[in-house]
Amino acid sequence: MTKDLAKRIGFLVAVVGIVVVTVTPLVWMVATSLKSNREITQDGTLLPSALTLANYFGLFNGRAFGSYLTNSIFITTVSVAIALLFGTHAAYALARFRMWARMETYVGFSLLVVRMLPPIVIIIPVFLTAQQLNLLDTPLALIAVYAAFNTTIVVWMMESFFREIPVDMEEAAMVDGDTRWTAFRHIVLPLAAPGLVATGIFAVIVTYNEFLFALVLTSTPAAETMPVGAATLIGRINVDWGAMSAAGVVGALPILVFSFFVQKHLVRGLTMGAIK
């Protein structure tokens, strides 16, 4: 009896410990963002004594956080949509068609290697190319880059889903008069829907959070995204701590809200995105 109780208490202590370590840094940022700058720099209180939203108003009046938000949402949506469209078709082709000299294995393999290529190693030529094409500081440049990287993610994740779907179902549909295309759209895609959802979630999170390309390819609120906007508040000698913490909250909020709404599929999306 006492042993059970001790076990129970140990379990709860561990749970609380994990939650505290995970959540405290974020709570501190939120707490700081709700303090006046006077309280932050002079009083050094742990929790805000008087709540103020002044830091948040400052982000939207006078700073361009409204534009950052719309840019982020627009660029993420378009690039993930393109990637899902292109990527599912490519993944289906790789999963179903046999090409000359088993080319499909090599294509699949190269796409996977490309997917693991870190952005930093191509940042210089991408920047120089965008400069030549006059695409610097436009959403188009970011959309192209994100769509390309996301497509490799989609191909790699979706190919295994398509492989698991029995060929017989499409063949039966094609005997009944469907073409390859209609069979793909009406039979295969609906069956692969859970995979599509997981893939989409993973791509949205990665894209929204991306910083390096956005930092290098954009320079004004016309195209800057949330992470870049949040980072512009840092690095000066006199840091405006209140504005910086509010920018952190506003910067992370959209993706946290998104994650909250898709939480049922989140674990699957993140796990598969990592290992598939």
Binding site: A14, I18, V19, V21, T22, V23, P25, L26, W28, M29, T32, I40, T41, L46, I82, L85, F86, H89, A90, V113, V114, M116, L117, P118, I120, V121, I122, I123, P125, V126, L128, T129, A144, A147, A148, F149, T151, T152, S160, I205, Y208, N209, L212, V216, M226, P227, A230, A231, V239, W241, G248, G251, A252, I255, L266, V267, L270, T271, A274, I275
Partner: protein, 276 residues
């Protein structure tokens, strides 16, 4: 069906990569090619103490961060490999840090480490000790960065290892229970050996990502103080965008790319073996 994907990936990722190789053989001044230096930039890199230093800093960072993440991630995964309402909520809480925008993670930890207004400083003041100097100290800034990375990415290791544990067969564990083996013996004799392939994949994937960590350092320290947190990605970025040395920066990043691609090839081979 493959064409759009190939077009996009070749145009936006592969072509720049090849352009990067070409750039790496030139000497640039103010963005203009001055002369072709062949492999000169590469020999320069290997005799540049700053580059070698950044490689060592990166290696040290990756080693400590990934080790800590693997050990804690494994403990968390073992702890969460049971069912229950609390555990399900705990799993969702644990993965929050990996969803938070990396730039914002940098902000969060600036707000913790800052010597005047940070959480640690406020806490120290509250209990009456002198506030610790973290971002201004060459030793502590490095460990501060390692801790940041551990906080952010332990969830990834946790997720992959949890998926691994949940897919283990149950029979060996039941047999061990019948034999009266303790929890530790069961872990060493059964869990660890069966989980080894998953651990290997998880560690390799995390290592690949950690090798080019950029966003958090950019926000937290910009590589400083001195060169204490100057990872190779930060040094390469500064060489191009601050010092305008396109050729030399490209050469450094190509060296990084080679290291990453070797690791990525290794990871792909591991995963393919796991699949079949």
């Amino acid at each position: 069906m493959l064409a759009p994907t190939m077009f996009l990936v070749l145009g936006v990722i592969v072509y720049p990569f090849i352009e990067g190789i070409r750039t790496s053989t030139g000497f640039y001044r103010y963005g203009k090619l001055v002369q072709d230096v062949g492999l000169g930039n590469y020999t320069q890199a290997f005799s540049d103490p700053a580059f070698i230093g950044s490689l060592f800093t990166t290696a040290r960072f990756v080693f400590f961060a990934v080790t800590i993440e693997t050990v804690i991630g494994l403990c968390l995964a073992l702890f969460c490999a049971r069912e229950g309402r609390i555990i399900r909520a705990l799993r969702m809480t644990i993965i929050v840090p990996m969803v938070v925008t990396p730039v914002v993670v940098g902000i969060v930890f600036r707000l913790i480490y800052a010597s005047d207004v940070g959480l640690l400083a406020s806490f120290a003041k509250a209990i009456g000790v002198s506030p610790p100097e973290i971002l201004g100290s060459t030793t502590w800034a490095f460990w501060g960065l390692v801790f940041l990375d551990a906080w952010e990415w332990t969830p990834l290791l946790f997720l992959i290892l949890l998926a691994g544990i949940q897919s283990l067969p149950v029979e060996p564990f039941e047999a061990a229970k019948v034999d009266g083996a303790g929890a530790w013996r069961t872990f060493v004799d059964h869990t660890l050996p069966m989980l080894k392939p998953t651990i290997l994949v998880a560690v390799t994937l995390r290592t690949i990502d950690a090798l080019t960590t950029f966003d958090q350092v950019y926000v937290l320290t910009r590589g400083g103080p001195g060169t204490a947190t100057q990872l190779v990605s930060i040094y390469g970025y500064q060489t191009f965008f601050t010092y305008q040395q396109a050729g030399y920066a490209a050469a450094m990043l190509i060296i990084v790319a080679v290291v990453v691609l070797v690791a990525a090839g290794f990871a792909v081979a591991l995963m393919r073996r796991g699949v079949r």
